[in-house]
């Protein structure tokens, strides 16, 4: 465990010592701020309209503001996380520091988990930016806390999947740009893979829906933690990290 934390700590410091962490967090805050502002404007109009109809109903903050805002958050991460994961292995291989890690008394698992946790910590600190906006909503309004909590759990799990895939792809090349591009396209495909689900046969449709990242997130957004989705995300992460371990091992044999 100490070894895992040593690597995670090193990874995290690597992000913050280089401009990467500041750029990704800054850009994320900017993009998210804009999305949130736009959604607040929409929400405001909806509330006005509903009040105008005099139905006595009011718009739901959770469903009509927070949930869409979180959906957009994940879209922003779709673009940003490849920039976080692309260097993890590629850079170490290019600069030769991978020799330090692979000849130290560490297991491959410890190195991979360390890198995974390091990237997760950066991801979590980006996600923490959104707490500011949620805090404001709590200050001036009255949102339901439970769906917000489960949404964060869902987003962390989904981000974990992104990072596991990103690590795998980074471990297969020594070129960061290649790693970043491939990771982005893979994320995008996993994001939209269910779009054709309506037009294929039922079995294929079920498979596509199951594979899609987004399908599994919606329950979390509604405040429901369904084991099925937790299992999907966790097994996705585990499989990604397992393949990363295989990839690192293959690289060893090939030299």
């Amino acid at each position: 465990m100490n070894n895992i934390l040593a690597i995670a700590n090193k990874e995290l410091r690597g992000y913050f010592a280089s401009p990467i962490a500041y750029i990704v967090i800054g850009l994320f805050a900017l993009a998210y701020g804009y999305f949130f502002y736009a959604l607040v404007l929409y929400f405001e109009r909806t509330t006005m309209q509903m009040a105008g109809m005099g139905a006595g109903a009011s718009a739901n903050v959770n469903e009509q503001l927070i949930s869409p805002a979180f959906q957009n958050t994940m879209v922003v991460f779709l673009f940003i996380l490849p920039m976080v994961t692309m260097r993890t292995y590629a850079e170490e291989k290019r600069s030769g520091t991978i020799e330090l890690l692979l000849t130290a008394p560490l297991t491959d698992f410890q190195i991979i988990m360390g890198k995974f946790l390091g990237a997760m910590a950066l991801f979590a600190s980006m996600l923490a930016v959104t707490l500011i906006h949620i805090g404001i909503l709590f200050a001036i309004g009255n949102p339901e806390p439970l769906p917000i909590l489960t949404s964060y759990i869902g987003m962390l799990l989904m981000g974990g999947c992104f990072i596991a895939v990103g690590l795998l792809i980074s471990s297969m090349t020594r070129n960061q740009i290649v790693a970043g591009m491939v990771t982005f396209i893979v994320f995008l495909m996993l994001w939209v893979i269910d779009w054709i689900a309506l037009f294929v046969n039922p079995t294929a449709s079920a498979v596509l829906n199951y594979l899609s990242f987004t399908q599994h997130l919606s329950d979390f957004m509604r405040g429901v933690i369904d084991t099925k989705h937790v299992v999907y995300y966790l097994s996705f992460i585990a499989f990604g990290l397992f393949l990363t371990a295989r990839s690192v091992d293959t690289e060893r044999w090939r030299g």
Binding site: A6, I7, R13, G14, L102, L106, W253, G255
Partner: protein, 321 residues
């Protein structure tokens, strides 16, 4: 301390290391000599557990590097060809990180880092990011990293590459100092370096061991100090004292005996050609002179082929080293 048995490493159809075997005793400094692409780095990478061998095995401090990698790695310090530094970390941060992953207990880390920095003379750069160091300092920080956990075995891949002459001397002195407590393998393609620091040399070319000897014997042979291969049909007589008594002959050692035919390696003072005397002495004894040839040529040729390939083979070395 280190034992390499029939080690072979192939990259696809290319054989980088071919059936290499050697042993290094505790406290010994072994030089690994050969041109670029000879398989030095590959052998070292197998010994450090960076990559598994295709065939054969390697034992470090009694542990098989493929079967008990963690135990072997805990006892090995490794300086790769390019020092594995993280450019954004300062020297002391970097060494603290290294000592942590090498399993140095928390309480000892500061002292071990300070000690390693002092021994490699990098303490004045402790607060400098590794990315801003000169080549000489990078190399020495890399060496400091290898010493941190006080390993039994040190594996140094071209430890003096890129240093200036003063630093080279300092580094060689440091390596010699370390030699008593640590078992060291260092690779180089500089012959004098080997003669100054190492007790024994393995010359490797095209993945094969071509010579194992002490640097003195090796340089003597390479310098062309006159070594002669003499094969005699002595038919009962003892030829060794006869040869040894010749003027100019410094050493006679028997290399093989087969059905009355005895082969000797006769060494003589430099610049003295004793071939005529040897031939005459043997004839005088009534023995048959079966073969008489200078031995230096073969080793000289080996080394010549090594050094000429150093130039010719350089562009082809590719990604394997």
């Amino acid at each position: 301390m280190i034992e390499v048995q029939h080690l072979t490493k192939r990259y696809g159809p290319f054989t980088a290391v071919d059936d290499v075997s050697f042993k290094v005793e505790r406290g010994e400094i072994l030089g690994f000599l050969g041109p670029n692409g000879a398989g030095k780095t590959t052998t070292m990478r197998v010994l450090t557990g960076y990559m598994p061998p295709t065939d054969g095995k390697a034992l470090v401090a009694g542990y098989d590097v493929t079967e008990q990698p963690l135990e072997a790695k805990r006892r090995t310090g490794y300086l790769p060809e390019t020092p594995p530094l993280y450019p954004e970390m300062t020297v002391s941060e970097y060494l603290m990180f290294c000592s942590r992953i090498k399993g140095v207990p928390r309480g000892d880390r500061k002292a071990r880092v300070a000690n390693a920095m002092e021994r490699t003379r990098v303490a004045d750069m402790a607060k400098r990011p590794c990315g801003q160091l000169s080549k000489g300092y990078r190399q020495r920080v890399g060496l400091a990293q290898a010493l941190l956990h006080n390993p039994d075995v040190l594996i140094l891949d071209e430890p003096t590459a890129g240093l200036d002459p003063k630093q080279i001397l300092e580094t060689r002195r440091l390596i010699k100092e370390l030699g008593g407590d640590h078992t060291i393998i260092l690779s180089t393609h500089i012959l004098p370096e080997v003669s100054q620091t190492c007790q024994r040399v393995v010359i490797i070319n095209k993945g094969r061991v071509v010579a194992v000897d002490t640097p003195d014997n090796l340089t003597a042979k390479l310098r062309g100090s006159e070594a002669m291969y003499v094969e005699i049909d002595a038919s009962g007589g003892n030829a060794q004292p006869v040869l040894a008594s010749l003027s100019g002959v410094t050493q006679v050692s028997e290399t093989s005996t087969r059905a009355g035919q005895v082969a000797f390696e006769v060494q003589s003072a430099q610049g003295r050609d004793v071939r005529r005397d040897i031939a005459a002495a043997i004839v005088r004894q009534g023995w048959g002179l079966l073969e008489l040839r200078p031995m230096r040529m073969s080793l000289e040729e080996i080394f010549l082929s090594l050094t000429t390939e150093d130039v010719a083979g350089a562009p082809a070395e590719g990604g394997h080293e």
